[in-house]
């Protein structure tokens, strides 16, 4: 079959901009997979006037830079493949550096300043980043409330004249051991922080912390969370007291697989639950709290324990991808390593029951494009729950700079990619 030269070159060009290339037919090209989760937020009832759903930032904003670090001096770094990082200044939002390799793998620090040739971080990174092209990093923006829920409250959370009469987005501040409460003001039609008359749509949801929605209005809502798959491992910055964290995507999704119990940056272990970190996992699907768990260390042996349950296998059981981790610590603060992984689980995770509601509002996701798709090429969205097996899902709508498609009804945790194919004419 002869592929006309123009089509062949276009296909190759498209293939080049879809990174990484996935093996397929010679006439197919694939985009990098993205995640799209649909989450149900149950509403309040007479018995439960406030209902909370914990959520994590697991599907990430676009990577702004991925590459190696050249020089390191205190808080200042230079980028190997981008000697002039000033392009980062043109991107709105609070950015952060995420260390991907080396002994500092998982460390996250904000970017305070972007210069003509260097980046100044919020923290001294000497112990986290090796100079001389040895350490890979990723730079992203922290998501904002508007990024997640839309500047116009696109999912229709209950609004009000004050925080106490509206649905809330709550961020737990581990430094202050207190919560920050946001809501959509019904008159000013914007996100505001409780007791503060100012636009809070740009308030950041600082990675890797999680947040929760507290609903006072009735009826189940659905929201869609989408973005790049955040599977990079993370050093969770644990403070004394309570901490709420997002977990990296880990397809094995069990406590045992995700949270490090020994080696560098493990949870604090102890001979009983009062002398160790206490971990609970909040599942958005069921509203169930799993745990409390702790790492018991006694007589030279250590193991995960579920408090009150002998021989518990819960630490080994797969979790909802989007589970949020709450860590409670009595001792001094530190870091705990949480592992991300796209390795397929040994035992396939059962799919989430969609459980659609009647009269659902359709939700959509999008895949960005760096250049338009020529008319002679076909675009198809494929879906997978394990990043191994892909099936055709739908034909997307082509729009400038992106394709959009409707997400399945009900709730789900799935990954999507765009498949672009050349279908030759048969004369």
């Amino acid at each position: 079959m002869n592929v006309p030269p123009l089509i062949r070159s276009t296909l190759a060009c498209l293939a080049a901009v879809f990174l990484p290339l996935c093996p397929g037919s010679a006439q197919d090209a694939y985009s990098s997979p993205r995640g799209a989760y649909t989450v149900k937020l149950p509403g309040a009832t007479a018995e439960k006037p406030q209902v909370r759903t914990y959520l994590g930032i697991q599907l990430m904003p676009e990577t702004r830079f991925a590459g190696r670090v050249g020089q390191v001096s205190g808080r200042v770094i230079s980028l190997v493949s981008s000697p002039d990082p000033s392009f980062l200044s043109e991107i709105p939002g609070k950015k952060y550096v995420h260390v991907l390799t080396g002994s500092g793998e998982g460390f996250v620090t904000d970017i305070d300043q972007v210069g003509a040739s260097t980046i100044t971080c919020a923290d001294d990174v000497t112990q986290w980043i090796l100079p001389g092209n040895q350490t890979q990093i990723r730079i992203r923006c922290h998501p904002t409330i508007s990024d997640i829920l839309g500047p116009d409250n696109r999912f229709g959370l209950g609004s009000g004249q004050d925080a106490g009469s509206a649905d809330n987005l709550v961020v737990w501040d581990p430094e202050l051991q207190n919560e920050r409460v946001y809501y959509f003001h019904s008159s000013r039609l914007r996100w505001e922080e409780k007791d503060t008359e100012a636009d809070a749509g740009g308030a950041i949801l600082r990675f890797p912390h999680g947040f929760y929605i507290v609903r006072r209005s009735t009826g189940t809502l659905r929201i869609a969370l989408s973005g790049e798959i955040g599977s990079d491992s993370v050093l969770l910055p644990v403070r004394t007291g309570a901490n709420v964290f997002s977990l990296p995507v880990n397809l094995s999704a069990s406590l045992y697989q995700i949270v490090r119990a020994e080696g560098m940056f493990p949870v604090l272990s102890g001979s009983n639950a009062t002398s160790a970190d206490i971990l609970t996992l909040e599942e958005p699907t069921t509203g169930v709290q799993r745990g409390p768990f702790y790492q018991m260390a006694h007589d030279g042996e250590s193991r995960w324990c579920e408090v009150g349950v002998d021989d518990s296998t819960a630490p080994l059981q797969p979790l909802d991808f989007l589970s949020t981790l709450v860590v409670r610590r009595e001792g001094p603060g530190g870091y705990v390593f949480a592992k991300g992984s796209l390795e397929p689980p040994a035992i396939p995770i059962p799919p989430l029951p969609p459980d659609p509601e009647a009269d659902e509002t359709p939700l959509f996701a999008e895949i960005p494009l760096r250049q338009p798709i020529p008319a002679d090429l076909t675009a198809t969205v494929e879906t997978s729950t394990d990043l191994q097996t892909w099936t055709t899902y739908t034909t997307p709508e082509l729009l400038p700079g992106k394709v959009t498609f409707q997400l399945p009804s009900g709730q789900g945790r799935a990954f999507y990619r765009l498949k672009v194919s050349y279908t030759p004419w048969i004369r």
């Binding site: 007479a46 018995e47 439960k48 006037p49 406030q50 925080a163 106490g164 809330n168 709550v170 737990w172 207190n178 919560e179 409460v181 507290v214 309570a242 709420v244 102890g270 001979s271 009983n272 639950a273 009062t274 002398s275 206490i278 609970t280 709290q289 409390p292 324990c305 408090v307 009150g308 349950v309 002998d310 021989d311 709450v326 409670r328 009595e330």
Partner: protein, 306 residues
């Protein structure tokens, strides 16, 4: 009533604070708390089937709980407001006798424990029980937007109200104490009318034993002729038993058998194991095995732990 006022009034009625959260209690030892397995009055480690419940005694202080206990377990249970479901000895401790590690959650909207001290009620199948409270630890109301409260507690840090504390690291259940709090016991001796003679340090009957010592050893503060609290009796093997009378179930009372070689030297806690007399749980005894020292003096020190 205007529409606005009516709606505000209704809002107040339908928005009670949720009382939810988790209380986690352990008896497993760590480097700072070497708590021994919990035992019965006879010293037998508590077994599965012994019920453990977390809850509160709303609006009752420690003395009032002890007074209730002197009336029997049923009175204690009636006053106890449980938090979450009951658990058993051995749970969370791989079934080990005398220990547990539990996490109790309650998401009801009952307001009975709001601000009340976290308490523990342990009941054996045989009717013995132990009541402990965690000073300064209260059931916190869950705020509408805050994190769910989670309390992590160790039984070694609790104040035992009803039960027996053999030593710093040894707790036991008890039958209902024969007396309640000191104040209630003293009030029952109506012949003592002088307020100064009612204090714990006073000796109302001038028998050389303070009122508190009488209280803790089952004595009579109005009679100088009641039996001695302590004694030493020989055993057939050539040793001796040092024994003293106690009132079982007074959880805050500490009994310390002390010894001295000549009463001029410092008194220290007697070396040996203090155990209940198998024939009378109200008697604690320690055996002195031969060969014996030329001379040894004993005294009983009784104090109330606040």
């Amino acid at each position: 009533m205007t529409t606005l006022f009516r709606s505000i009034f209704l809002a107040g009625l339908v928005s009670p604070s949720l009382l939810a959260g988790t209380v986690l209690i352990t008896t497993l030892p760590d480097e700072n708390r070497e708590l021994a397995p919990l035992t019965s009055l006879e010293g037998i480690p508590l077994s599965p089937g012994t019920q453990v419940r977390v809850g509160a005694f709303p609006s009752l202080d420690d003395d009032q709980v002890l007074d209730l206990a002197s009336q029997g377990l049923d009175e204690v249970v009636a006053a106890f407001v449980p938090f979450g479901g009951s658990r058993e000895i051995g749970q969370g401790a791989d079934g080990a006798a005398g220990g547990f590690e539990i996490a109790v959650k309650d998401s009801s909207t009952a307001a009975a424990w709001a601000g009340q001290t976290v308490s523990l009620l342990i009941q054996t199948a045989g009717g013995e029980f132990l009541v402990a409270r965690f000073p300064g630890k209260v059931f916190e109301p869950e705020s509408e937007t805050g994190l769910e409260p989670l309390l992590c507690l160790h039984l070694a840090d609790a104040k035992v109200i009803v039960g027996n504390r053999q030593n710093e690291n040894s707790l036991a259940t008890s039958t209902a104490p024969s007396v309640g709090s000191f104040d209630t016991w003293m009030a029952g001796h109506e012949s003592i009318t002088d307020l100064l003679m009612k204090s714990p340090d006073a000796d109302a009957d001038s028998d050389g034993r303070s009122n508190f010592l009488e209280y803790a050893t089952g004595g009579d503060p109005t009679s100088p002729d009641d039996p001695a609290a302590c004694g030493i009796t020989p055993d057939p093997e050539g040793g001796f038993w040092v024994h003293f009378h106690r009132v079982t179930g007074l959880g805050t009372v500490r009994y310390d058998l002390q010894a001295s070689a000549d009463m001029a030297a410092a008194w220290t806690t007697a070396e040996g194991s203090l155990q209940p007399d198998p024939e009378n749980a109200n008697t604690l005894r320690m055996r002195l095995a031969p060969p014996l020292q030329p001379a040894l003096f004993f005294r009983l020190n009784v104090e109330q732990k606040k």
